[in-house]
């Protein structure tokens, strides 16, 4: 095991896959000479050269579309979009093309590509640089959606994403790039992690808390508070991938705890939590002792002011309050 930052774990995943498969290459805005806006591609240009680490013009839809074409013709592109916000400029290629092509051409073409994009709030970047679009991509059939919260998962999921034959939207959180964690080492580094396998971060019997991306950490912090200050044992689940979603693990937990809280940074309407709450209600209604609670980002464009921004992002206190609400009258 090595202690790595998330950005290093992601970089190692790309480098290892590039070493073993010539078809894998990286392209995006400032991924080469600049080594990535968030330094995730540090060292890749030096090791692999300009043919395989390609700086692109600022042309998001064309960057993704070029990746789609390259994937259809046998390569495995890793496309870095500087932020999820900019991925909106490429939505046509992601939704109408990358996701649709395998289906609309009846399997005659595959699109094995990874579209990496960091997002999330907390850096005072304001309305156009702080989005969380897990829910947006989760909705699109044909895409796989990953949202790792730890360096180990980041590396293992990215390796799996690169090897997968489907287009993967790989969402990273800007605040997590610097976080450290244990990452398995070895001849080939970490083994890929199968998509659709949630991680139970903490076991508990009183309430299930599902946290996505950075909110997985917030959920864990809230669970500690609940244990220390309220005597409540929360089970914390990090879904790790949203499509496919390991609903079975979540439902098994809810059937045990009879209560659920879903924590995400994105907007409330039509969010990850809205979807998951519906699925839980549809499929485990008889096990629920309280309405499913959602903790989401505020329904506004992310404000710049530090106070307002922090007020718009979910924190541990919000999660604790929501968990206690599901337990009201039960104790």
């Amino acid at each position: 095991m090595a202690q790595l930052r998330m950005r290093e774990a992601l970089r190692d995943a790309m480098a290892e896959e590039m070493r073993t498969d010539e078809a894998v290459f990286v392209m995006g805005e400032d991924v080469g000479v600049f080594e990535g806006a968030f330094k995730v591609t540090e060292g890749l240009l030096e090791e692999f050269g300009e043919r395989r680490v390609r700086d692109t013009p600022i042309s998001e839809n064309t960057i993704v579309g070029t990746g789609v074409g390259a994937a259809m013709n046998g390569l495995r592109p890793i496309v870095e979009l500087m932020t999820v916000n900019f991925s909106l400029l490429a939505l046509d290629q992601i939704v109408n093309h990358a996701a649709a092509i395998p289906y609309m051409f009846n399997g005659q073409a595959k699109v094995p590509m990874v579209i990496r994009m960091p997002g999330g709030g907390g850096h005072q970047l304001g309305p156009t640089h702080s989005h969380s679009f897990e829910a947006l991509y989760l909705q699109v059939p044909g895409l796989l959606v990953a949202c790792p919260s730890t360096p180990a998962d980041g590396k293992a999921l990215l390796k799996a994403a690169i090897r997968d034959d489907n287009p993967v939207v790989f969402i990273e959180h800007e605040s997590l790039y610097g976080t450290r964690g244990e990452v398995p080492e070895g001849e080939n580094g970490a083994e890929p992690l199968r998509f659709g396998e949630a991680a139970v971060r903490r076991e508990g019997s009183d309430v299930t808390i599902v946290g996505v991306l950075k909110m997985a950490h917030v959920a864990e912090g809230a669970a500690s508070q609940l244990a220390h200050e309220h005597g409540v044992e929360a089970e914390v689940i990090d879904p790790r991938t949203l499509r496919p979603l390991d609903l079975d693990t979540i439902l098994a937990s809810v059937r045990k705890t009879n209560r659920a809280v879903i924590v995400e940074e994105g907007w409330p309407h039509g969010g990850v939590g809205a979807n998951l709450a519906t699925l839980i209600t549809e499929q485990a209604f008889d096990y629920l002792d309280a309405p499913v609670q959602r903790v989401t980002g505020a329904d506004v464009h992310m404000p710049y002011s530090k106070r307002l921004e922090q007020a718009a992002i979910p924190h541990e206190e919000h999660v604790v309050k929501a968990a206690l609400a599901t337990l009201e009258g039960a104790r």
Binding site: S59, N61, P102, Y103, F105, D165
Partner: protein, 408 residues
């Protein structure tokens, strides 16, 4: 229009060019008729009048080269060698269609013939063409990608972005704008400040040429040179082929934006008739061969309709097939959350019973096609109450008489 007197190719090539153009013409006429019969659904964009641009282009491509087009590409696939019956079956939404009935008229694809689609989003195919070309170059293969698109696509952001990237990365790609003078119903003068589209990429470092898209020989020469530049010098270029579609943008087009005289004027320059005449006058082809090309087209299209009619509808339990490529065997990633029964997970290989019941209930609304389809231009959502000036219904009624008479 320049009537470039480039030399005619040899007789066998001339026959092949004529036969391929006649087949596309005949196919498109029949597609229009089948649309009226409600055998083909959705939107139907016909390439009648644009055959020389299509066939001239594909006739100078190598088998390993890639072609990528737009939503008006029945002819492009056929020109590339896709069997016309499989294109017709796709229009009918049947399992033997090029996309098994999942794509329809706008999304024809044939991996084997390296026809890389059929795209319904204007300009959406441009970056994909750059990517296909990038992969060829990356792998050290000398295949060239030919990217065809309409005049309207030259106004999209993808156009500028892709020209820049292709020039910057020296990609082996040829861009060919099929300028049929209208982006749907908006004429070039009304949609593009620069009406010389061949100049539109100069600022991105891509030079352009204009060619007569109604002259199959001139198209061949222009495209061959563009392909040579792409293959040998990694120099992408932009060709603007002047062409014309005799029919409306789609079957739902009342054509209020142009005069019938304009259509007739272009029909005088009919690419098939013009080429057949030239071949006869030069004694390269005789009347018999011209007639033979026509008859072969008739036969093929007749067989295509029969094939499409007899091809089964896709089975409902194949609805999720090919939504995901199965990297590991046994995985079924699609989860239809409409299903009210407990979650079945992503590993189910078969559609759950309740999902199948929902699919069957929905499919029963599809019914059977019966009777002629009302002209969407006058009865649909396109332009209610507007009488088509160049009615496709009129053309269809006339069709039996002039179906084989293109070269008269």
């Amino acid at each position: 229009m320049v009537n470039a007197m480039a030399d005619l190719p040899d007789a066998a090539t001339c026959y092949e060019l004529l036969a391929r153009m006649a087949l596309i013409r005949r196919f498109e006429e029949e597609a229009g008729r089948q649309y009226q019969r409600a055998r083909a659904g959705g939107f139907l964009h016909l390439g009648i009048g644009e055959e020389a641009t299509i066939v001239g282009t594909t006739s100078v491509m190598r088998p390993e080269d890639f072609l990528i087009g737009t939503y008006r590409t029945h002819g492009h696939a056929i020109a590339r060698g896709t069997e016309s019956k499989r294109v017709m079956a796709e229009l009918f939404g049947r399992v033997d269609g090029t996309s098994g009935g999942r794509g329809g008229s706008m999304h024809i694809f044939d991996a084997e013939k390296r026809f890389m689609g059929g795209y319904g989003i204007v300009g959406g195919n441009l970056p994909i063409a750059a990517g296909i070309a990038l992969a060829s170059q990356y792998k050290g293969e000398d295949a060239v990608t030919v990217c065809m698109f309409g005049d309207g696509a030259s106004n999209t952001g993808n156009f500028g972005e892709t020209m820049n990237l292709a020039a910057l990365w020296k990609l082996p790609v040829l861009f060919l704008v099929e300028n049929n003078l209208y982006g749907m119903g908006t004429s070039v003068e009304r949609h593009s400040a620069q009406t010389d589209l061949s100049k539109k990429a100069e600022g991105y470092g891509i030079s352009g040429e204009r060619i007569d898209g109604m002259d199959v020989v001139e198209v061949r020469e222009g495209v061959a040179e563009g392909i040579r530049l792409a293959r040998e010098e990694q120099r992408p270029t932009l060709l603007e082929a002047f062409t014309y579609r005799y029919k409306g943008h789609s079957a739902a087009d009342p054509e209020v934006y142009r005069e019938r005289e304009e259509v007739e004027e272009w029909q005088e320059k009919d690419p098939i008739e013009q080429f057949a005449r030239r071949c006869r006058e030069a004694d390269v082809l005789g009347e018999r061969e011209v007639q033979q090309a026509r008859d072969a087209a008739d036969e093929a299209v007749k067989a295509a309709v029969e094939f499409a009619e007899n091809s089964p509808e896709p089975a409902l339990d194949t609805m999720y097939e090919n939504l995901y490529a199965q990297t590991e065997p046994g995985g079924w990633y699609a989860v239809d959350e409409r299903s009210p029964e407990p979650h079945r997970g992503e590993d189910e290989a078969e559609m759950p019973d309740s999902a199948r019941e929902l699919a069957e209930a929905g499919a029963s609304y599809a019914g059977q096609p019966e009777g002629p389809r009302p002209n969407p231009a006058t009865h649909g959502d396109a332009q209610e109450g507007v009488e088509p000036r160049v009615s496709s219904e009129r053309e269809v009624e006339d069709a039996p008489k002039d179906a084989a008479g293109d070269e008269d």
